[in-house]
């Protein structure tokens, strides 16, 4: 289950946006340049606070600038943060750096600056190649800017350019979505993330939904678009490796995000960032903690020289196995059953034989034998679409 080398990942949350999108439930805010400067100082200050407690000796092999909109910060600020990380944490000379950027921030100059920082994956918040959809989503760029941004990024020579898209907007037809996918594919990014629009309660869309003015697509239509997305992209050469993630080749898969899905440790800095530390040897146990959600509170705690942790939990074998099952069923690689048994001490198949047979008959799962004869529990496309429900069906007879 562990990533190949199991090296930890570093996540840095930059909460600023030039405008807060009506669907977004991340920890974000709008703020002027002075506030952004102040934030950078605090982020730099959090690094040594966190480093003191981070006992995993292995070097971080990925760094992810997420948000928010990290591309709003000048490259120099990002460099300062990286510098602090290099100073206090085991950061090798050239980790794989990911940067989320808004299309309107992408120019040959900014791209060059990010390349100089060591950014290897540029993840673009394109969301749509339709002007109408972009307006509905409250984005500041238009379709033309989106296309230009992808082309500019491609030309700048990043290892991977990733494009984020949202589907399932009210009235979204198969035809309209297929056109957008075709546009995306024509631009040939290394990586695509296609997210079904989710309406979260504490967002502007959530408020509209509560008033009955907006709703997610009916389940059947969601399923149809989900199916279309996966089939279209697989046929075009971007097979899925996770529910919402597609890559032109394995090299383009997100080696940072994969850590979230297989219990590789990660350290998150900045407001709302989550961290996971696993037991060094033997026992299947881990600890997860998360920072203050709101930036002002996070800042004031960092300013006071405290670690800005809002909460934490320790994960026993059952919690870990539950997560591994839930997350594994979201990936097209599925669950390595021997690895699962070795790591969590449970023969998943033995404990759920009848269920697996039934789900296989239903066409949701297959038990496949990959190279070396290792059995894997692999969700089919229809299984992937109901992965959350599938996970709830399994019996995990483990101590809590």
């Amino acid at each position: 289950m562990r990533a190949d080398d199991g090296q930890p990942g570093l996540y840095l949350h930059i909460p600023f946006c030039s405008a807060v999108c009506p669907y977004c439930d991340f920890s974000v805010l709008r703020a002027g340049v002075p506030a952004r400067k102040r934030f950078v100082e605090h982020l730099v200050a959090e690094v040594p606070l966190a480093a003191r407690e981070w006992s995993d000796p292995r070097p971080f092999d990925t760094v992810y600038f997420g948000g928010g909109t990290p591309s709003l910060l000048p490259a120099g600020d990002l460099a300062r943060v990286l510098g602090a990380c290099r100073e206090h944490l085991a950061l090798p000379a050239a980790p794989w750096i990911f940067l989320e950027a808004n299309p309107e921030d992408v120019t040959p100059d900014t791209c060059a600056a990010w390349r100089d920082l060591g950014v290897r994956t540029l993840s673009l918040g394109v969301q749509s190649f339709s002007d109408d959809a972009l307006r509905f989503l409250g984005r500041r760029h238009d379709a033309k800017q989106a296309r230009t941004a992808v082309e500019t990024a491609q030309a700048a020579g990043f290892d991977t350019v990733s494009v984020d898209l949202i589907f399932g907007l009210p009235g979204h037809t198969e035809e309209a979505w297929r056109r957008e996918l075709a546009t995306a594919v024509a631009l040939s990014p290394g990586h695509l993330s296609c997210y079904q629009l989710t309406i979260h309660p504490r967002t502007r869309f959530g408020v509209s939904a509560a008033r009955g003015r907006l709703s997610e697509l009916p389940e059947d239509e969601q399923a149809t678009l989900f199916d279309l997305t996966h089939r279209f992209l697989a046929d075009a050469g971007w097979p899925a490796y996770e529910v919402s993630n597609f890559a032109r080749s394995r090299d383009h898969e997100s080696r940072h995000n994969r850590k979230y899905w297989d219990h590789t440790p990660y350290l998150g800095l900045g407001p709302s960032a989550h961290s996971l530390a696993t037991a060094q040897a033997g026992a299947p146990a881990a600890r997860r903690w998360w920072n203050e959600l709101r930036t002002p509170r996070w800042e004031s705690r960092v300013a006071a020289g405290e670690r800005p942790i809002e909460g934490e939990e320790s994960l026993g074998p059952l919690a870990l196995a539950t997560e591994a099952l839930m997350l594994g069923l979201r990936t097209t690689a599925g669950i390595d059953l021997d690895g699962f048994a070795a790591r969590y001490g449970l023969d998943l198949l033995a404990a759920n034989g009848a269920l697996v047979a039934r789900l296989a008959a239903e066409g949701h799962l297959v038990v496949s034998h990959g190279p070396g004869g290792h059995p894997r529990l692999v969700p089919t496309l229809s299984g992937l679409a109901v992965a959350d429900g599938l996970a709830a069906l399994f019996d995990l007879p483990l101590p809590p």
Binding site: Y11, F26, Y195, Q196, L197, T198, E219, D220, Q222, A223, F226, V243, S244, N257, Y260, W261, Y266, G268, S272, A273, H274, S275, L276, R288, W290, E313, A319, T322, E323, M326, L327, R330, A354, R358, L359, E362, H364, S382, L384, A385, V386, A387, D388, G389, L390, A391, A392, L393
Partner: protein
């Protein structure tokens, strides 16, 4: 004996019977103001809340009248529902007079008439009481007209009161003394005491409420129950004020309590006659009928862990409710429970509510059933009240079901719909007659089974609450019953099997299927819900599986929340029952087994 008045208060629901009783008790000084709490006679919370009296209570009130004499007023409370008509009759039998309460704004209603007829059947002297005259909407003149026209009583003999404010209570007490006759009886004759009620007291055992018709009862008297044959030695007799007040003896005409070392109520038959073992009376008080359960249902705890608690609760309840019978039962879907017999649907309701409230249990009840008489091919006979034990139809020669004579009173304008309801419910020999202008009396012979299934609610709704309903068991008649099973993904849900008339099997099965389809959450599999008679499928619905439930985003900050959601979901699943690898939530059983019918209403 002429200082005694035995009377009851009869009224339509909500016309203020209990409040009036409270006021009489207060005025006679039987209770200190500080001890007073509203509706003293309705001792159960449930009674106070529903405004109906379920278990009759009795109180003796000393009253000094204007003529200077002190009278003993025995107020015998009566249960207010047809299920307990048995007890109502016993109570009325103990009285010489009745106060018929009519709401000053509502006027004479269906039950008022039914109550009057019942009182007249027992030869009671009736004093009409117009209550709630303090209400702004009170219309005393109209109500007096109705008393004259609809009840045939002298409106000028009526007493106007406001039980709430205490207005007119003195006049009423005088009327009780002047207009209601004293009891008759021979104190020297052999003892005849009617057992009209009994309560269970944790310390004293059964407290018997009796009305003496002849003879006398005192400590040491050896009494015999004329119907059950049991004999007991009397330990104490006395008057039932708000507390027990021991007395040296009770004599003919009096009402009081008896302690005789009777442990529980289960061996007692209300309506039995106590006589002296040494010098027995020739005949018991007439009109005795055994209270037999006619409605059966299985009770299961929602949480299987609560089975022990349910067992204890039923044992305790039984001490207080002789008419409740039960035995162990079990279901593959719902686990261990009890098969219970009830006097009627309200009795079932009351037992369920008491178990849930007083014992804090959450319950699932199977569909109520009547008891069928089955004649097998070899001419042997079996009685079946539980669908689980219904024999193989191939072995059945004939099946008989109980019929009732239903008496329905309704305003004339609803006659058509009431007749239609009777027809729908397989009623035969339905006749009607005029009671008084605009008021009809419909009599129909109905299968009891059809009355169990939301009949009363339907009657209430089609007559906008004016219809009243009473019934008595008639006989057993040949019927065409089938056992309808409900299958989930091909597997029988035993708790949902029921015996239904063939004519209604398809709609009933379909309704069950549809209700299940509404309440069983969609799952990752297609779920087929079928209704079947034996191997023949007669109804079918399908719950389509989820096609998409997966959330789009799952990164570092989402995982804990997502896992907790999953854990909660799994916790919820533990409370579901598994049938055919399908998880069925308890609510699905509750919704299917609900008798009232919101789909049609």
């Amino acid at each position: 004996m002429d200082h005694i008045r035995n009377f009851c208060i009869i009224a339509h629901i909500d016309h203020g019977k209990s409040t009036l009783a409270d006021r009489l008790i207060q005025r006679c000084g039987a209770v200190e103001a500080r001890e007073f709490r509203d509706q003293i006679l309705d001792s159960m919370d449930l009674e106070r809340e529903r405004g109906i009296t379920i278990k009759a209570n009795t109180v003796s009130l000393p009253y000094t009248a204007k003529d200077g004499r002190t009278y003993e007023l025995n107020l015998i409370d009566t249960p207010g529902h047809v299920d307990f008509s048995h007890e109502v009759r016993r109570s009325l039998m103990s009285c010489e007079g009745a106060l018929l309460v009519v709401d000053a704004s509502q006027g004479v209603e269906a039950q008022t008439v039914a109550n009057l007829y019942l009182a007249m059947e027992f030869g009671l002297e009736v004093v009409p009481v117009i209550n709630k005259i303090d209400l702004p909407s009170a219309d005393v003149d109209r109500v007096m007209e109705e008393i004259d026209r609809d009840l045939g009583l002298d409106p000028f003999a009526s007493i106007q009161v406001s039980a709430k404010l205490g207005t007119g209570i003195d006049e009423l007490l005088e009327a009780i003394v002047q207009h209601l006759p004293p009891p008759k009886g021979d104190p020297k004759a052999p003892l005849r005491a009617l057992l009209f009620d009994a309560q269970y007291d944790a310390y004293r055992g059964a407290v018997l409420q009796v009305r003496l018709f002849d003879g006398a009862l005192r400590e040491g008297t050896r009494v015999r129950f004329m119907h059950s044959g049991q004999e007991h030695k009397v330990e104490e007799v006395g008057y039932q004020r708000l507390k027990h007040v021991p007395a040296p003896e009770l004599v003919a005409g009096e009402v009081g309590y008896v302690l005789a070392g009777v442990k529980g109520l289960s061996g007692l038959a209300i309506g039995d006659t106590l006589t002296e073992a040494e010098r027995p009376a020739a005949e018991p008080v007439p009109g005795y009928r055994e209270a037999k359960p006619v409605v059966f249902s299985s009770i299961y705890p929602m949480a299987t862990d609560d089975y022990e608690d349910l067992t204890k609760a039923l044992e305790k309840l039984k001490l207080n409710d002789a008419s409740l019978i039960y035995e162990k039962d079990s279901s593959a879907a719902l686990g261990f429970g009890f098969r219970c017999g009830f006097l009627g649907l309200l009795h079932l309701d009351v037992v369920q509510e008491r178990l849930e409230r007083e014992y804090d249990l959450s319950l699932i009840l199977s569909a109520p059933s009547v008891r069928y008489r089955i004649v097998m091919n070899d001419d042997s006979e079996v009685w079946i009240d539980n669908p689980t034990f219904y024999p193989d139809p191939a072995q059945i020669k004939e099946a008989y079901e109980p019929y009732i004579k239903a008496t329905i009173m309704t305003p004339e304008r609803y006659l058509g719909t009431v007749m239609e309801l009777c027809r729908e419910r397989r009623g035969v020999e339905t006749t009607f007659s005029y009671l008084s202008a605009g008021r009809m009396d419909v009599v129909s012979q109905l299968p009891l089974a059809e009355v169990l299934f939301d009949f009363y609610d339907r009657l209430k709704s089609i007559t906008q609450g004016y219809g009243s309903f009473d019934y008595e068991l008639l006989d057993y008649r040949l019927g065409d019953m089938v056992k309808v099973d409900i299958l989930v993904n091909g597997e029988k849900v035993d708790a949902l099997s029921q015996l239904v008339h063939r004519e209604f099997s398809r709609p009933r099965a379909l309704r069950y299927c549809e209700r299940l389809a509404k309440t069983i959450p969609r799952q990752q599999f297609k779920i087929a819900i079928q209704g079947a008679i034996g191997g023949q499928i007669i109804a079918r619905t399908t719950i389509n599986p989820f096609r998409k439930d997966v959330t789009a985003k799952c990164y570092g900050g989402d995982i804990s929340r997502k896992r907790k959601l999953l854990e909660k979901q799994k916790e919820g699943k533990k409370k579901m029952k598994m049938v055919g690898a399908v998880e069925i939530p308890q609510e699905a059983f509750v919704s299917v087994l609900r008798t009232e019918d919101e789909d049609e209403g």
